[in-house]
Symmetry: C2
Subunit: 596 residues, 2 copies
């Protein structure tokens, strides 16, 4: 006869094997297999509209964000289509669209200083790191970035990115990258403003704001309305939704007209590389001024970006996916999202893309337009490829001020300090990581986010090191410990017990109420044993009450004694509800321990 | 009329001022003021015996540990007396004795590679850092080093230090410092063993072990026994207690006899600097081969030691103080201990001392001999000064093998793997930081301790990120959350709620039982709000029960609704006991929120 243990082990083994190779597992790795069998004409219609809409936004935004990243504008499009195809296969959210984003472009600008080879290599390395994290199921790491830190980071990035475009909006030159210097230099150079750029820029912003306002306030149409109303609605909807594309095309036309007339009132995008990028290995070395820069030197140039960029890419993408999953009532798989974004960056680097992530603005657009599956991304991708193939010669005439207007209008809604008010009401201490992240991000964005994470972890550790302990008096001093006990709390616990036990009256016994204690580690157990020893050496006792079954087991294993009524109110309640194993088989053990 | 706020502020201000300047505060900063007024002849007798005993141990150990640190032997004594005087004034434990220790000497050897100027500078810098940590009340940082990590580190250090002396014991030469290479080379060079050193070394060990065994097993004498018995006891007690000094003196005499006969069977300590060290500034620069090494280069040479050595110094000292305080029923003040050790290192560096800390062996000796106050340290200090003033010429003849024997016998009891068994019984997961620290310490001791701390923090964070959630079925699904909720747990909480709420039956409501929830931060509150929103959008409800008063307040502040019976069993109990404010003034608020 087989021993049950062996049988059980084998069963577990085969269950793990089955889990890895099953149809379920394949569907988890390739989520499009879940929606493809149910795909309908109706879904396709909605996906086509959504895909086209996003495509009309990503082309102008891609050009503009490449400008933020300090790269030639065509790199924005190189980075815009790989994610569309890959996310369609691997993504677990119907709404997310991957591509160049404002924050990612800013970070790329910081760590690559406009060197396109470095940016592509960074995409390759980020992709590798993100894939590794996804395969190792390290998605839980993102749980350690708290909401105040994310909010503060996004608001600060909105200001930084928005302000970085003021120079293009006003036609100013030689403005440094660092935010504080940038603000100073921008104001300092205000007299050198170019009127043409400024007028065009502000007109574009006004136009974009007006169209956005229209979109938000235009009355919805219903089936019963006359046809002309509905046609009118469709025209307005298309205009307002494709407003970025329309503004950029219009500004380009104006610039072209002036060009034909021999006038040059605007700074233009200028010559861009034509056609699709070649499929080639990412640049593992590059030549600068006849000197070959080796791979290790390039990695050194990227520096901490190698850590910040993959992490921020994941964070942004997963945060957006979670937000829309919650809004539209579905669940995403964090580790699968890591794989999708990792593969996008990895493959993108073979097609001259720079690091990408999930875009909040375009994801929102996708969701509002009514995307049913990520299939719309295919159309978005083809639209970008079409632009690259046939429209690059026209990009010459796009004024930089128009792209700056697109960016400023895209990042403005990211700035949101109203969270401060809620933070103040809900938990004042959480304002600290918010403020640290927000203020430091203006100095160096990576220090802001790292220090913010650190501060929120310190606050977390502090709450562990100083658990709340309530004193309940009536029946001799009873200390009710309000949360789990882990090693950082052991000295505080000791001090508190000492303070209460060595009062004037020297009570013969002190009771620790463990009703709320659910976690107990070795260091704390040793600390408790020493305290109990101290009490005993003085002929006094330290009692425990309200023990939960597993905590009871731990204390028994460590040879601690003196349990008073182990069946407390709470555990008794649980027992009656049938959700825990009966405690009774522990009780004789405890009493036999007492008889030693 | 003054506003109460202002009055209150002033009162707080004056209270803080009073707290800083009061007699209590002065006594806290100079703890000897507490025991000095009660000092009696009886205490003095016991302190004198303890002080002499510790002195007879610290002189040979100081010489030996300087050998471990790779410094000339006199540095061991230079480092042994400053702490005795300072701890007497500033220390809060009656037992702790500061001075050179095995672990500290090993660390100094690692980071200064036998450069005495570097070692003294390191003492100065460590002292500054420790003083700063003490003044800033950063003693709580030591709470984040768990017991398994300390145990593993001490055991690994015992092996490393013990084995590092095997070369001196056997008279082997050119043995590298790194543990694994050391083991290999020691066995490789066994054929080149020097018989004289080996015989003397093993004889010394045998003698030390025999005396230790005698001390532990010699029957105690009582007042009624005959005088010869008591005399005999005193002789044995003195011999066994001063065994280190006796062994070193005896070995020195043997070596001197051979020297007189013209034989040289042992490797001797050799010429040492005579007399007391000069009081001078620590070396902020040094000359090596006619090249001046600047301060910044010296600091770079020390490298991570600048962080490890002050921290380990504090850790060792505070851990020992806590252990003996617990054993002898008194409390220590961690921050005051930091000041004492910091000032010792700071002032020591002006007298050519290398970094010191609390010594476990000598503290135990002090405690066993019956020290009543730290005053015995004064005598220890003078004994060391006497040795430095008059005995240095004699140190020439001390065989290195004898010092090696002293060290090996001193560190052997630090090796203790029995903790593994308890760890296995109490909490298996805590074996991980133990093993990581223990194994890595053989590679590089600093990586061992740092990774150990990291692993235990990761385990801690994991328990926060994955709070236990129990499902109680009877009245619609109720999820009982077993511990506090902080930001890393929010996604897990969401997933769990989704898993339970979207079963086949689609229950109309899900209840979260918050009885055990004592911590709630902004990120979690936002998560809960989103989940509640999701539920509401489906016409279902997410209810809360068993809320503690402050958690109830937080949820109200964040505009969360649907509290079911906020007065749970637990809080109601507390209310009856009178330990919390009545919850009733919250209840109408909650219902008014519901009426919105």
């Amino acid at each position: 006869m087989e021993r049950p243990g062996t049988w059980h082990d084998r069963r577990v083994g085969s269950r793990i094997l089955a889990r890895c190779c099953s149809w379920e597992a394949i569907k988890r790795t390739l989520p499009f297999l879940c929606w493809l069998p149910q795909y309908s004409i109706q879904w396709m219609q909605l996906d086509i509209i959504a895909g086209l809409t996003v495509g009309l936004t990503v082309v102008p935004q891609g050009l503009a964000y490449a400008e933020v990243a300090g790269l030639p504008v065509e790199y924005g499009l190189y980075s815009s289509y790989v994610g569309c195809f890959i996310y369609c296969l691997l993504g677990t959210s119907k709404d997310v669209t991957l591509g160049p984003t404002a924050i990612m472009s800013l970070l790329v600008a910081i760590y690559t200083s406009g060197d396109a080879s470095l940016a592509v290599l960074l995409a390759f390395l980020s992709g590798c790191i993100q894939l590794a994290l996804g395969l190792l199921k390290f998605g839980f790491l993102l749980d350690f970035i708290s909401y105040p830190v994310i909010k503060a980071f996004t608001s600060a990035a909105a200001v930084t990115i928005g302000f970085s475009q003021v120079k293009n909006l006003l036609g100013l030159k030689d403005i440094p990258r660092q935010f504080i210097l940038q603000v100073y230099e921008t104001f300092h150079k205000l007299p050198t403003i170019r009127v043409g750029d400024a007028v065009l820029g502000f007109l574009c912003i006004a136009f974009l704001l007006a169209l956005k306002f229209m979109k938000e306030h235009f009355p919805r149409v219903y089936r019963g309305m006359p046809r002309c109303y509905r046609l009118c609605y469709i025209i307005v909807w298309v205009t307002t939704t494709a407003r970025n594309a329309i503004v950029v095309v219009a500004a380009g036309l104006v610039a072209y007209s002036f060009h034909v007339m021999g006038l040059h009132p605007f700074i233009l995008t200028g010559k861009t590389a034509e056609g699709l990028p070649q499929f080639q290995l990412p640049p593992f070395s590059e030549k600068i001024d006849n000197r070959t820069v080796s791979f290790s030197e390039m990695v050194q140039d990227i520096g901490p970006g190698l850590f910040i960029i993959p992490l921020m890419g994941l964070l942004e993408s997963v945060a957006i996916a979670r937000a829309f999953a919650s809004q539209n009532n579905y669940r995403i798989d964090t580790n699968q999202e890591l794989l999708a974004i990792g593969l996008t960056n990895f493959l993108g680097s073979f097609l001259s893309a720079y690091p990408v992530t999930g875009s909040f603005g375009r994801t929102a657009l996708n969701s509002q337009t009514g995307a049913c599956t990520p299939a719309g991304g295919i159309l978005t991708g083809f639209l970008v490829l079409f632009s690259l193939g046939y429209l690059t010669p026209l990009f010459y005439y796009i004024p930089k001020a128009a792209l700056a207007a697109v960016i400023i209008c895209a990042v403005a809604p990211m700035f949101d300090l109203s969270v401060c008010k809620t933070l103040w009401k809900v938990k004042k201490l959480d304002l600290l990581p918010f403020l640290v992240t927000f203020l430091l991000s203006f100095w160096e964005i990576q220090y802001g986010i790292l220090l913010g994470i650190l501060v929120s972890l310190v606050i977390l550790c502090y709450s562990i090191a100083r658990p709340k302990i309530k004193v309940i008096d009536p029946h001799g001093p009873t200390l009710m410990i309000m949360s789990g006990l882990s090693f950082p709390s052991v000295e505080y616990l000791r001090d508190t017990i000492h303070e209460k036990a060595f009062t004037d009256s020297l009570p013969p016994s002190v009771t620790l109420d463990f009703t709320h204690v659910n976690v107990l580690d070795y260091t704390v157990v040793m600390g408790l044993r020493e305290i109990q020893h101290e009490f005993r050496s003085q002929g006094r006792t330290l009692l425990f009450s309200g023990l939960q079954p597993d905590i009871h087991q731990i204390l028994l294993a460590a040879d601690l004694k003196d349990f008073q009524h182990p069946l407390s109110v709470t555990t008794a309640d649980l027992y009656i509800d049938g959700s825990v194993e009966p405690l009774l088989n522990n009780v004789p053990k405890a009493s036999s321990e007492l008889n030693h």
